[in-house]
Symmetry: C2
C-alpha cells in the first residue's frame, strides 16, 4: 500500500474542528472542539501519573462506553491538583460541549492542559463555547491551535489512502515522558473499526511511538491520547490501517520531540540486537534522557565516553563491550572495544543538523527499540526557570 503525509492536512469524512479564545489566555486560542457528525467508536489511553488531572479521572469513566462524538480541550489551565471541585468542573466542560453540539454528554471527552493546581475557569468555558458549532471546519490545524501551550507551532498530519483518511492532532513540548500515552494527541478516522480493534491498534501504536518519546523524563499529569473512528469510509483492511496508524504516530512523535522545549535537534536512538525488546527499550530511554547525551548533541560533540556511560548505567541489562558497535549519523565511532579512527570534523558537521541518529548494535540477541527526544539547551532552562512557570 502506498501513502504519504499530506502537506495540507484535512479532517476525515464527517469530522470537523474549531478553536477560539474564551478568555483564559490573553488573546490566543484556548478552547478547541473536535466533532464527528455521527457517533464514533473510540478508545483512549491516559497518563500513569499518580496525581492524574481531573479530566483524566472523568475520562477514564467516559471511555468505558467506547463511543464518542466530540472532544473538548482547553489550554493554559490543566485542572490538576484541584480536588473534588476540579472533577465537577471537568464534567461541566463536557456538558457545555454536548449542549453546544447537541450530542450526549457521556460521549464527549474533555482534556485540559497548562498550569497545575489552579482552578479551572469553567464559567469562561461555558460562555465561550456558545455558538462555536458554527465555526466547525475541516482544517485540523485550526483545532491544533487551541490546544497549544509552549509548542512553537500547531501540529496536525493526515494520510489519505484509497480507502480511508487518518488525521492526528497533537501538542506538547515539556513535561514529556508519557507512559501509556503522550501529552494530548487526538486521532480521527473515517474507517469503520470496532472499538475493540481500535483499542488494540491504539495500544500497539502508542508503545512504539509516544511511549518512546521523552523531552525531560517528567511525566505529565494530563497525558491523553484518544482515537475516534466514525465508519464513514466503510470497512478497511486492518493491516493497512495499522500500518498507517503506526507510521503516523511515529511521525507525530518526531514532531513533538523536535519541538521539545528549547530544542534545536531531534534525537533518534536506535537500539539493535539487544538481549530482548525490554532491554532495548531501557537502553534507548536511558540514552535519550541522559543530560550528557542531550548536551553533547547540542554541542555537536561525538562523545564516545558519554555513550558508553549511558548504556552502562542500565545496571540490570546485559552488555558486552567487545561486541558493541556505536555509530552517530552513520559513522561508526566505537567497535571491537575501542574508539575507531573516523573523520571527526566531518562527523561534527553532520551532528550540526536538525537530526542526530545514534545507532547502537549490541550483537547479543534480537531485541530492538527506537526512542525519540531532543537536545538540552539554554532555551529549556530559560523556559522552565522563568519566574512564573508552568
Amino acid at each position: 500500500m502506498k501513502y504519504e503525509f499530506d502537506g495540507n492536512p484535512v479532517m476525515p469524512k464527517g469530522f470537523t474542528c474549531a478553536s477560539r479564545n474564551c478568555g483564559i489566555k490573553e488573546g490566543d486560542d484556548d478552547l478547541a472542539l473536535f466533532y464527528s457528525d455521527t457517533k464514533a467508536n473510540a478508545a483512549a489511553v491516559f497518563t500513569q501519573n499518580l496525581v492524574p488531572g481531573a479530566p483524566i479521572i472523568a475520562g477514564r469513566e467516559i471511555i468505558k462506553k467506547a463511543k464518542l462524538q466530540a472532544v473538548v480541550v482547553n489550554s493554559r489551565v490543566s485542572n490538576v491538583g484541584t480536588g473534588e471541585e476540579g472533577v465537577k468542573r471537568a464534567y461541566r466542560m463536557g456538558v457545555a460541549a454536548a449542549k453546544e453540539l447537541a450530542c450526549e454528554s457521556d460521549e464527549v471527552m474533555m482534556s485540559s492542559t497548562g498550569v497545575i493546581a489552579v482552578e479551572l475557569p469553567i464559567e469562561k468555558i461555558e460562555s465561550g463555547i456558545i455558538g462555536m458549532k458554527a465555526d466547525l471546519g475541516s482544517d485540523p490545524l485550526v483545532g491544533a491551535r487551541g490546544i497549544m501551550t509552549t509548542d512553537t507551532y500547531a501540529k496536525a498530519i493526515s494520510v489519505t489512502t484509497d480507502d480511508f483518511t487518518l488525521t492526528i492532532v497533537g501538542k506538547g513540548s515539556g513535561m514529556i515522558e508519557p507512559n501509556m500515552a503522550t501529552m494530548l494527541v487526538y486521532a480521527f478516522t473515517d474507517a469503520a473499526i470496532s472499538a475493540k480493534d481500535l483499542d488494540a491498534v491504539l495500544r500497539r501504536g502508542v508503545n512504539k511511538s509516544f511511549n518512546m518519546l521523552s523531552v525531560d523524563t517528567d511525566t505529565s499529569t494530563s497525558d491523553t491520547m484518544v482515537v475516534m473512528a466514525n465508519g464513514r469510509a466503510g470497512k478497511v483492511d486492518m493491516q493497512d490501517f495499522e500500518e498507517v496508524f503506526e507510521s503516523s504516530c511515529i511521525r507525530m512523535t518526531e514532531m513533538l520531540a523536535r519541538d521539545g522545549e528549547g530544542a534545536t535537534k531531534l534525537l533518534r536512538i536506535e537500539i539493535n540486537e539487544a538481549v530482548s525488546e525490554k532491554e532495548a527499550k531501557i537502553y534507548a530511554r536511558a540514552m535519550v534522557n541522559s543530560p550528557l547525551i542531550k548536551t553533547m548533541a547540542h554541542g555537536c560533540d561525538p562523545n564516545i565516553g558519554r555513550m558508553l556511560m549511558a548504556l552502562g548505567k542500565c545496571f540490570d541489562n546485559t552488555l558486552d563491550v567487545d561486541t558493541l558497535t556505536l555509530s552517530v549519523n552513520g559513522t561508526v565511532v566505537f567497535a571491537d572495544s575501542v574508539k575507531t579512527e573516523f573523520d571527526e570534523p566531518a562527523l561534527r558537521q553532520s551532528i550540526d543538523s536538525e537530526e542526530v541518529i545514534f545507532k547502537i548494535d549490541l550483537a547479543l540477541g534480537s531485541g530492538s527499540a527506537t526512542a525519540y527526544g531532543c537536545d538540552l539547551t539554554h532555551g529549556y532552562v530559560d523556559e522552565n526557570a522563568a519566574y512564573y512557570s508552568s
Copy 2:
C-alpha cells in the same frame, strides 16, 4: 559525643598526601598520592556502571586483600573504554606508586578520572611520580587538588574527636548519580577498625549519603569510594565512629551537590512517612533528578504542579493526594489536597538562596529518605555542550 568539622582540615595520624602536575593537564595538578606510613585496613565500593573503567576492574581485585597503604589518582583521563591495554596501564600506575613509596603494589589503589575512551598517558605518570614521596604533607586539600576535574574548588573535611580523626577528600561535579559509591571519595582514619567493620560502616554510610546524590542522573564509569583505617589512634567506640563517618559523608555529599556542574544552589529533598524506605528513596531521587524541579529551584518559583508531577511519576509507589503535605524552605504550599494560602513573594525570596529544602510528608507509613542535588542552569549546558567536552 561532641564534634565539629575542622575549618582547616588535617590528615589523621600517620596519613599524608601530595599532588603535582605530571604533564597530563596544561599546568594544574593532575596526579595525587595518599599514603599511610603503616599498612591500613581498607574497604571500597565502586560504580555499578556496566562499562567500568580499567582502575575499577583492577580495584575490585586489589580490595579483596582488605589492606592498603596508598591511593594514587590521576585526573584529566579516566582510562575507561580502553580495552585490555587500559587495564595493564592501570596496574602500571599502582606499581609506579608502590616503587616511589616503597610499599607493596597490591596494597595501592588506583583511580583515574576525566575523559573516556582516551589512552592513559602512563609514561607521564611513571616519570612524574618520581620524587613525590618528598612532597608528602598533612594538608588534605593538597591531595584534593590533584583529583579535580570540573570541580570549582578542592574539597576536604576532617573531624577530630578525643579519640580519633576522620578525614574525607572528594571530587566530582558532573556525571554524578553514583550507585554503590560516589565519584572519587577517599576517607582516612587513625581509628583501629577491622576491615570487616570498615566495610559495613562504609556501605551503610554510602547508602545514606553519596548514593542519594545526583547531579544529572548520569552514573559515571569511574565512581569509587575507598576508606583506610591505620589504627594509630587505637580502638574507638564503633557507634561514635559510625556517627562521625555518616555525618562526614553527608557533609561531603552536600559539598559535591552544591558544586555540581553549573550549580548555584544545593537541593535537599526530604521524604517522610512514605510506605517504606524504598519508596521514600524513589520519591526523593525522582524529585532531585527532575529537570522541571531543578529549573524551578533555579528560577525561585514555588511550582506546586511540578512537585505533584514529580511524585506522581513514581508509578509503582503509593500516594494519597488527600494526606500529602508539601513544603518548601519551611513553608507549607500544599495540604488537604489543595494549594495553601501562603506569602508567595516571601517564599520566592527564601528560594533565592544557597539551599532549597523540599519536605514531603506522605502520612502513609514510616519510610523516610533524603536526596541531594543541585539546580539546572545555563552553566550546566555550557559546560557540557562545549565543542570538546568530557
